[in-house]
Symmetry: C2
Subunit: 157 residues, 2 copies
Amino acid sequence: MLFSTKAEYGVRLMVELGRRTDGASPEESTPVSLTAVAEAENLPLSYLEHLVAKLRQAGLVTSVRGAHGGYRLARDASEIAMLDVVQALEGPIAPMECFHTEREGRVLCSHEVDPDPCATKLLWTRVHGGVTKALAGTTLAELVKFSEGQPATLTIA
Amino acid sequence: MLFSTKAEYGVRLMVELGRRTDGASPEESTPVSLTAVAEAENLPLSYLEHLVAKLRQAGLVTSVRGAHGGYRLARDASEIAMLDVVQALEGPIAPMECFHTEREGRVLCSHEVDPDPCATKLLWTRVHGGVTKALAGTTLAELVKFSEGQPATLTIA
DNA sequence: CCTAAAACCAACCGCCTCGCTAGGATTTCT
DNA sequence: AGAAATCCTAGCGAGGCGGTTGGTTTTAGG
């Protein structure tokens, strides 16, 4: 399993918020309570609380406290890349323990004994690129539209 | 972490076997003992035993028992896709718990309540495609060459 | 003002996998 | 015979996963 249910539940939560922002810009839509989301997606409420906290800390959703409160998307769904969502939920995406991306896009490996490079770096770099490209290239708006729209046609790429 | 050390150690094991098949076709090269691999890669021997067992069961390496025994690649390194290696070590690659690929390339999701499709299927399908494409498109021969060759130039794609 | 609904927060807990070790049994070359 | 190697089974500590429990605080509505 590449990702845990944190990513799965969290993404479904975000899609649910996106669906209920019907047309209106996020900040003028009425907030959606976690109770409603939990019921609609059939997920445990108290567990969702943990997940939404991470999304809020990452600046992806905003909250309204008190009665009739809830959560809203922090910006338009088309401006939310799924890479940010998944990273907020799962932490930094590295294919391996020894894999670290530096600020200049350089890739480090803790096994590199000075002269010769870690043999597997090439592989993990490609894998990392593949998954981040897929995540970064998908917006929340796409998922919302997909969930509402055509059930049959699934466009892979 | 997308993959555990099983994949990391196992891939390094395979690369080590590939490096020591210098030029010769696999079946006429002398087998390499796990002790030698463990020492070269600085990995725990007894743990490698578990990993190599999976590689053998998957038909990726062959073994020679007894003194001066060891392991060989089952076929030429250029014929070994890293997808098979990683799958042998980590099990089937699914982005999520609810994600299952059927025989015809169809994708199933256990959450699909008949009419409307699981909202997140589009995302996980893309992620799955990204990682499998990266793994399937990389051969062991590439990694062996990379580990011996040019340290500076890293061709991502 | 009171109450209900909601976001928040902290702690806990059973289960499972990971990473690894232990202790053998078996096979084969020297 | 002995050593070197593969092979096999069992166990084990640590940590994350997938929640649950039990609150506290904020706020709208009656």
